[in-house]
């Protein structure tokens, strides 16, 4: 039997949704019994092997071919700017990458800001957004609790992911602009897309079918 296709899944919520769709598409998926510690899981039917990685690492695993395909949020995908194919959008993981500021901020267009300090986990997209508008933003790259930055005077704005906006509101922040509407994407390695064309195509079509039925 041929080697299974390797699927990189982002640890966390997206993986649960991805597994639901993979199961509906007819693939054997690992059960809860496999526990949370194993990083490599084999599907019982031998068609897919699952690796669980940090969400922002999924595009890297796929670009290098360490995984043939993967599930990644568009936010992570655009931030990483990795060279992968994106054959299918998946109907989960919806969120927005937004610019937010303090609720009491004067009603001033962003482009009139002098040189705002912006805290974010998405430096590439943030830089591109402000630069495109001619604003020399000072980026403060953080790895968590971005909402805190404006409250304690660390930053004027934040660029962060928002699902409902509740977290922002609770922290006295308001959305100012949307940079990106994000959802989960199936991504594929360029070499695997060709060298294992039949299996990759089968997966895309089966998942697309599951998405249509959902």
């Amino acid at each position: 039997m041929a080697e299974p296709l390797t699927v990189a899944l982002p640890k966390g919520r997206l993986t649960d949704d991805a597994l639901v769709f993979l199961a509906r598409a007819g693939y054997a998926v690992p059960t809860n019994g496999d526990g949370g510690r194993k990083l490599v899981l084999d599907g019982a039917d031998g068609r897919l092997r699952y690796i669980l990685v940090k969400p922002s690492d999924v595009p890297v695993f796929v670009e290098y071919g360490a995984a043939d395909v993967g599930v990644a949020g568009l936010d992570v995908l655009r931030e990483s700017a990795r060279d992968v194919y994106e054959p299918l959008q998946l109907p989960f993981g919806y969120c927005r990458l937004v610019v937010a500021g303090k609720a009491g901020r004067p009603d001033l267009p962003l482009r009139l800001e002098r040189s705002p300090r912006v805290a974010t986990k998405f430096p590439r997209l943030t830089e591109a957004f402000f630069r495109k508008r001619g604003i020399a933003a000072e980026l403060i790259v953080m790895s968590g609790s971005v909402e805190l930055a404006p409250l304690v005077g660390l930053a004027d704005f934040i660029v962060d992911l928002v699902q409902t906006g509740a977290t922002l509101r609770e922290n006295g922040l308001v959305e100012l602009r949307t940079i990106l509407e994000s959802q989960a994407e199936l991504i594929a390695n360029r070499a695997s897309y060709r060298l294992r064309a039949a299996e990759v195509r089968e997966l895309i079509d089966a998942l697309a079918g599951a998405v249509r039925e959902a």
Partner: protein, 456 residues
């Protein structure tokens, strides 16, 4: 003391260098068997020359610097542009076609990916002065032959044609903004994005919609090239298919069609290529290792217009691809470590300058093969003859005694230690294999035995 290397460059040590050399030798043998002649190109040129029509992407990747007059120079980012300059300015009136080949380093300011640093090794061929599918097929078949020649067991080449997508764009006649988005979506094989794009352009006729939606599926074997006729909007698309079918038939005749698949939605470097395009992949590597295509517009930038088709492969990636498929280059090593004439350990300890044959008087006479300066000179003569027969002979310069000599050979992966004794008339070699238990003595003219030492 720290001596950091600048970003983007690397040293290759012994086995890797040997592998590079072996790959280059195999490539040279292959392309010269196909009539390609090698040229040597300068490492840097005027930046204006290299930036000609390369597209902004490569332009941003150029390593630039100034000459003493303040003119901007750049390290070559590939070999095709310098080759085109040579043809356009020096070879344009030579009998065509020209078959050219090259190997060398190229330099690009891009993040290191898959074994490729800012400086990496490239080898390639260009077939110049011949349009048409016979030339196209020759170059693709040569790519397959080259990858086989370097000993890559498994690989795949995907063949496309820019005419198909260009024809589609012409047929769609979309506003520029949508054209760019469409190209971007097709490049990423983003099928949902295509659907969304169509939703934004309600005026398109159904055949055109169908063609756009079909694009991501127009991949696979040569049989797909027939089915794809159903979505052609114009003669440009039909001609692209006809070209590919003709190339496919020729590749069949070349016996390489098992390596080749087709993809009509490959739209990279759309502005550079003018006909067929192709890219080669190997299992596990994740990145393309060879790419090429037809670029009939490039040489015209430097001289009279001239059709051309070619490819370039990245040697660094080829090395990785071979390793992933289990091909390990052996560490280069000599066949034998030869002591000129070992003396007793005691005699050697007193020796200070370590040069062969000096202070012969101090050598222990009790040691078998105890030598003299005369002995040593004879042994160097013997080493020269042995090397002439292809044996790799390393001379021990330290004056080690037999035991130390054997240990030194073992430690350095040299398969045997030996010492030479006697005169020109009657000489012997006493040898011990690195994994052997004892020394044995053979005649210094026992070439039958010693030829067996080569590479083992």
């Amino acid at each position: 003391m720290d001596r950091p290397l600048p970003e983007g460059v690397r040293d290759l040590l012994f086995a890797d260098t040997a592998a590079f050399r072996r790959m280059e030798t195999a490539l040279q043998a292959t392309w010269s068997a196909w009539g390609y002649r090698e040229i040597h190109l300068p490492t840097f040129e005027y930046a204006d020359t290299l930036a000609t029509d390369v597209g902004s992407e490569m332009d941003a990747e150029l390593y630039r610097f100034f000459d003493r007059q303040g003119r901007t120079l750049a390290l070559r980012p590939d070999m095709t542009i310098p080759t085109a300059r040579v043809v356009g300015t020096r070879l344009y009136d030579q009998p065509m076609p020209l078959r050219l080949a090259y190997t060398g380093s190229v330099f690009r300011y891009e993040p290191p990916r898959a074994g490729r640093q800012h400086e990496f090794g490239q080898a390639g061929v260009e077939l110049i002065g011949a349009g048409g599918t016979v030339a196209d097929a020759e170059v693709v078949a040569l790519a397959a032959a080259a990858l086989q020649a370097v000993g890559l067991p498994e690989f795949g080449i995907t063949l496309g044609h820019v005419g198909f997508f260009r024809g589609l764009l012409a047929g769609l006649a979309l506003p520029e903004r949508l054209t760019a988005r469409l190209q971007e979506a097709v490049a990423r094989k983003a099928e949902a994005e295509l659907v969304r794009l169509l939703a934004e352009t309600p005026g398109l006729p159904p055949v055109a919609r169908q063609a756009v939606l079909a694009l991501p599926r127009l991949t696979g074997s040569a049989a797909m090239l027939v089915d794809a006729e159903a979505v052609c909007l114009n003669a440009t698309m039909m001609n692209a298919l006809a070209d590919l079918r003709s190339v496919a038939a020729l590749l069949d005749a070349y016996g390489v069609s098992r390596f080749v698949t087709y993809d009509l939605a490959e739209v990279r470097d759309l502005g550079y290529y003018t006909g067929i395009t192709f890219e080669g992949f190997a299992p596990g590597l994740g990145f393309g290792l060879i790419s090429g295509g037809r670029y009939d517009d490039l040489i015209g930038h430097f001289g009279p217009p001239c059709p051309a088709v070619g490819w370039a492969l990245t040697l660094d990636r080829l090395l990785l691809a071979r390793e992933l498929q289990g091909i390990v280059e052996p560490e280069p090593r000599p066949d034998v470590l030869l002591a000129a004439s070992p003396a007793s350990a005691e005699g050697r300890r007193k020796k200070e300058d370590g040069r062969c044959g000096s202070r012969a008087g101090k050598m222990g006479a009790a040691e078998p093969g105890a030598g003299t300066g005369q002995n040593c000179q004879t042994c160097l003569g013997w080493a020269a003859v042995a090397r002439g027969r292809g044996l790799k002979v390393e001379i021990d310069p330290l004056g080690l005694d037999p035991q130390a000599l054997w240990h030194a050979a073992k430690a350095r992966g040299i398969p045997r230690a030996a010492w030479y004794a006697g005169t020109e008339d009657q000489a012997t070699i006493t040898v011990r294999e690195a994994d052997g238990a004892e020394w044995r003595t053979i005649g210094a003219d026992d070439w039958e035995e010693m030829d067996r030492w080569q590479n083992r």
